[in-house]
Every structure is written in C-alpha cells, then in structure tokens.
C-alpha cells in the first residue's frame, strides 16, 4: 500500500508540475488565469 501511495505521489507531482508550467505560460501570454477568458480554441 505504501508503494502505491509513493508511486501516486510521484505521478501526481509530474502532472501538477506540468499543469503549473502551462498555467504560468498562459499568464505570460494572455495576462489572465481566468479559464473563461481563454478563447483560442472556441468552436
């Protein structure tokens, strides 16, 4: 069970780091972190 928790911590850290990097990038480019203000992929 500990092995599972540890593995998931590692996986979770990777995902979170990537999401954070994307969020920083969005803030840099669009100047906002409001998801509803991002319209680049609107249908």
């Amino acid at each position: 069970m500990q092995a599972l928790a540890l593995t998931d911590v590692v996986v979770g850290a990777a995902v979170t780091a990537l999401l954070l990097a994307l969020a920083v990038q969005v803030h840099k480019r669009a100047g906002t972190l409001d998801p509803d203000a991002l319209r680049a992929t609107r249908e």
Binding site: Q25, V26, A40, R42
Partner: protein, 642 residues
C-alpha cells in the same frame, strides 16, 4: 522441454519492449546535446523500429497463449499474486506494435518538420511509445493507471510543444485538466477495487469478483474506471477536449494521438471489463452491451456530424477520429470475440489511414501556411502527391477494398449480424460515409477548387461562419508555431515554403498505405482468423486468470478459440457494401461542394448549430460534462450490473 526453453528465451522480450524505448528516451533527454542532428533522428527512429520489431515478435510468439512475465521473478504462490506482471497477448502486442509503426513514421516525418529542440521532442515521443507499450502489456491494475498517467503527461507536453502560441497552449490546458481528472477517477476506481478484493492484479481481482453480486462499491468502481478510460478514448460526453488537443498539437504528435491514444482508452475499457467485471453474477452481459453500444453510436454520429461542420482541417480529422472510435466501440460493445476482432482490424487499418491523412495535412500546412479549407481553396497545385494521399486516406477510411480496414469492416458486420443487431451496420455506414465525405469535400475544394468561394463574405450565414474567426486565429498560430521552430534554420524561407516538399514528409504516408494494402492483400495469410483467435483468447476470462495465476500446469486449453467460426471476409456482398460506402462518401462530398445545394447546407448548419455551440472550448464546460458523464455511467452501471 523445448517449449519451456522457448518461453524462457522469448519472455525477456516482454520487458525489453518497454525498456528499449525508455532507454532511448533517457539517451535523447540526457545526451542529445552531444549528438549531431542527424544522429539524434537516426537513433530515435532506430529505437522506435526496434520497439516495433520486439512487439511484433511478441505478437507472433504469444499467439498460442498469453506470455506472462513477473517482475524479478515474483511468481504467484498458491494462486495468490505477490508480484507485478506483464500479460502479453497478441491483441495487446499488436496494439503496441501499431504504436511502434506510427511512432517510427512520425519520427521520420519530423526529420524536416521541426528544426530545433528535437532532443526533447524525440525523448517525449519515445516515452509516449514506451508508456503505450506498457499500457498494452500490463496485467496489473495499478500499473495500468501509471501507464495511463505517463501516456497522458507526455501527451500534454507534446500538445503544448508550441506553447508560445495561444491555441496549442489552450489545447494543452483543456487536455491536461480533463485528463488529469480522468486519472484521478481511474485511481479512485483502482482504490475501491483494492479495498474490496485486496488485490491489484487484474486476474486476481477478476477471480475475487467471480460469481459475486455487484454492490454499490463495485458499481462505483466500475463507473470511475470505465469513465476515466472513456475520457482518454474521447467518447461522448467525455470528448470535448479532443478537438482542442488534436487541432493544436504538432502534426507528428497528432499521428500518435489519432492512431494510438484514443484506442488505448478503449483497449483499457474492454480489458478491465473482460478480466474483472464480466464474471459478476447476474448475467450483466446483454445490458452492458446496450450501454456500450449506446455510447458507441452516439460518439460515431456526433463525430461524423461535427466533422462535416469543420473547415479547420486538423479539427476535422479530430472529429473523424472520434467518429471512428465510436465505430470501434460499437464493435467492442457487442462483447463477442468476433466484434472485438473486427474492431481490432479496423483500428489497424484506420490508424494507418488517419495517420497518413494527418501527415498529408501537415505537408499542406508546411507549404501553404494554413489549415483552413476555405483559405486553401484551389491552392493545391504543386502538391499532387499530398492530394492523392488525402483522397486515398479518406477512401480507406470508408473501407475501400482491398485495404485491411475493409476486412475489419466485414468482420464487424458479420459480428453484428450474429448478435442480432444488424441495424448497427446502418449507423456504422452512415458515420463512415459522413466523416469520409467531409475529408473528400476538403480535398475537392483544395485541389480541384470546387465549391463556392466563401472567403470574402463573412456575413452570409454559411455553415462555417460562427467559428471562422477563431479557426483562423488558431490555424495561423499553428502555422507560426511550426515555422517558429524553423527560424534559425531557414531564415530566408520565413514564409515557410521549402522549395520542394522533402521526401521524408511525402514517403511516410505512402509507406503507411503500403502496410494497410499489404495486410489487406494477405501479407499475413488468414489475418481475420488470427484476429478472431486473438480476440477469443483476449475475452476468455477463465483462461486468462488460469494462465496468470498458474493454476493450470502447462499451457491453458484455448477454450474460446474453437468457438469462433471464421468469417467470410472477402465475400462479394461485403465488397459491394464497402464500394457503396466509398461511392456514398464521394456523393456527400459532391453535394457539400455543389453550389446549387446551398439551401440544404444552410438548413443542416442551422440544425446542428446547437451541437457546435456545445463545443465551447472552455475547460469549465468540459469538466462539467465529464462529471455529468461519470454520473450517467454510474447510473447505467447500476442498472446493468445489478
């Protein structure tokens, strides 16, 4: 004795087929700065080809019975699993080798497509490949989750590879948010099953649940696991991230996404169903069949209708991918080995064609700096090979004989007939016709200049107007993203036009068609029988559990294999149906381009506007749909499993 020797020598291939691409990725990430450009490309291609070869060997040698590999030799003792295993069957290994083929094609294509930072790109692509292979081969539920997340993380990074531009960045965010929620959902499902059965091994969980009645915990675990995998497979209503991600990812990455990633989600759904949940008491098979068929039909139809409404070529192909995924789900959802076999062959044939289509669109984008069908009208001259690629791709997607997808289609039709559900064929044919018709319409407009010129009039209310502005923005961003990487290399060629299309961009799609044609013409003789046998072995829960847990002494008797009568793949009726689909797709394209049919087009556009509105591209909406879909799945699961 000889049999034992053989299995010892080949069992090393199982971990090797994951270790090789991982080691290659580590090499790329760590030492690519030491290597010249051509060496980086060559090594990456060689690693991908080696992985393909290993998984092909695996597919051939596991055809008789699945090959089990226990990490560090921790075998189960007395039917109790204490280690982690890989359980490689021909179906999983075939899926893995498909990933290898597509990764190789994508890497060859990259040779001239990107010009900077290729070490990182290649490393990510190879990790993606390793994770896909891991996903296909693993026999452990938690390992399945880890592979799921690894595929997802590399896919987010690859989607946002051109993160300097708004569309790829937002595509990556939508993709990352929805798919990490899916990961959470899968993890919770794994946790619930572990709580109930005390095991993470698929075979052992299946054994523990056999003959039991489904209680609330099991139903919720089913909904969380299946829902999580359906997000990856992009099944309605979990699909909203897909056009955003596929529409903004770099072309070589789209190849892997469309050919492998969505199918992996479906593979996991059926793997978990077959090994874990199918043994529950109460005969839930027929009701689960209805649930899966419902999702499949919805996805096939929504994907086809949305594909027809797109002018952004990559988004169009994204919806085509989705529509075809719905068709596979119909095949898989029949819950018969024959349906699974047909879907598998369709996956192979369609993946090759879809990849060729994406690669062709990549050439157009590279040469003309746009992926908008309207802007490209009549600008196809000089790209004849690509035009042929795209038309051929669309026809193969419409199951043009003798390509391998027509063999798969014949099996699928046969399976539907035997399951007394012949009307599903109509749904399949309709969505195939509409989605191929959309691609053919684009080809007719770009290469033949057919259809009305819709560029200068933004307010005529044609079907593509509402989204046109946004589409334009995203596709120019796309084009710049690709060429931004070119800056240092091709300064004077800033407009993005190489004088000639490089051969490394023209040949991979043709090679993929050659594979599809070869498989269809009998490169592997009796491919439909092999597929049927593989699918039967895959669906045989008892045999799988016996092999993994080692409760039988020697090789397991292959009970399911006998039960599968060979299908009449090459019957005249099947060929006629396929040709009919091809002709109908051409007709759809013709009607869509005919100037006289404007009224009809406007009526259809107005009728589907609500559907287009739902695809808002806002991540909040997508998460809401995901939650609603999970709730729906839980309700359906409750009805089906109880």
């Amino acid at each position: 004795m000889t049999h034992v020797d053989l299995s010892v020598s080949t069992s090393a291939i199982v971990p090797a087929s994951i270790a090789v691409p991982l080691a290659g990725a580590a090499l790329m990430a760590g030492f690519s700065w030491l290597l010249p450009r051509w060496a980086r490309d060559l090594i990456a291609i060689a690693v991908a080809l080696a992985t393909t070869t290993l998984t092909l060997i695996l597919m051939a040698s596991s055809a008789g019975h699945p090959m089990i590999y226990w990490f560090s030799g921790w075998r189960p003792s007395g039917g109790m699993v204490i280690g982690i295993d890989y359980a490689a069957g021909p179906l999983g290994a075939g899926m893995a080798s498909l990933a290898g083929v597509l990764a190789s094609a994508a890497l060859v294509y990259c040779w001239r497509y990107f010009d900077s930072a290729r070490g990182r790109h290649h490393a990510l692509l190879l990790i993606f490949l390793a994770a896909s292979v891991d996903f296909c081969l693993t026999g452990d539920l938690f390992n399945l989750f880890v592979a799921f997340e690894l595929v997802a993380v590399t896919a987010f990074a690859l989607t946002g590879y051109n993160a300097g531009h708004p569309a790829p960045l937002q595509g990556a965010i939508n993709f990352a948010v929805t798919n990490s929620l899916a990961g959470m959902s899968v993890l919770m499902g794994v946790g619930f099953l572990y709580a109930r059965t005390g095991s993470l091994n698929l075979a052992q969980i299946g054994q523990a649940l056999t003959g039991r009645h489904a209680d609330g915990l099991i139903v919720v675990a089913f909904a969380l696991l299946t829902g999580g995998f359906l997000v990856k497979a992009a099944v309605v209503p979990f699909h909203f991230w897909l056009p955003d991600a596929y529409g903004s990812a770099p072309i070589p990455v789209c190849v892997l996404f469309a050919g492998v990633m969505s199918e992996l989600g479906l593979f996991a759904v059926i793997r978990v169903w077959d090994t874990v949940f199918s043994g529950l008491a109460g005969g839930s098979g027929p009701r689960m069949q209805a649930v899966l068929l419902g999702f499949g039909i919805l996805t096939a139809v929504v994907g086809a209708v949305m594909a027809l409404a797109q002018i952004h070529l990559k988004r169009m192909l994204a919806f085509v991918t989705m529509s075809h995924l719905g068709i596979y789900l119909i095949g898989v959802g029949l819950l018969t080995p024959l349906g699974l076999a047909g879907a598998s062959l369709l996956v192979i044939g369609d993946a090759l064609a879809k990849s060729a289509l994406f690669l062709g669109v990549g050439v157009v984008q590279h040469q003309r700096a746009s992926v908008s069908e309207i802007k490209l009208r009549g600008r196809g001259c000089g790209l004849a090979v690509t035009g042929v690629t795209i038309v051929l791709g669309a026809l193969v997607l419409a199951d043009l004989p003798p390509f391998v997808s027509s063999v798969g289609h014949a099996l699928l039709v046969d399976a539907a007939d035997r399951a007394d559900l012949p009307w599903t064929e109509i749904v399949i044919a309709l969505s195939v016709i509409l989605s191929s018709g959309a691609v053919l319409r684009a080809a007719g407009r770009i290469w033949l200049g057919w259809g009305a010129d819709e560029r200068p009039r933004p307010d005529t209310g044609t079907e593509d107007d509402p989204g046109e502005e946004a589409e334009d923005r995203s596709d120019t961003a796309d084009a710049e993203g690709t060429f931004g990487a070119n800056k240092g290399q091709d300064g004077p060629e800033r407009s993005g036009r190489l004088r000639r299309v490089p051969l490394t961009m023209l040949l991979p799609p043709l090679a993929l068609f050659a594979i599809a044609l070869g498989l269809g013409l009998g490169l592997i003789s009796g491919i439909e029988d092999h597929a049927a046998a593989a699918a039967a072995a895959f669906s045989d829960r008892a045999a799988y559990a016996a092999t993994v847990l080692g409760t039988h002494g020697g090789p397991v008797p292959r009970g399911g294999r006998v039960a599968v009568p060979a299908a009449q793949a090459a019957s005249a009726g099947g060929v006629l149906t396929d040709l009919g689909q091809v002709l109908a797709a051409l007709c759809v394209a013709g009607i869509a381009l005919d100037r006289r049919a404007g009224r009809l087009r406007r009526a259809l556009a107005a009728g589907t506007r609500w559907l287009r509105r739902l695809h808002s591209g806002l991540v909040g909406d997508q998460v809401t749909w995901l939650a609603a879909g999970l709730a729906l799945l839980a309700a359906l699961g409750q009805a089906a499993l109880h």
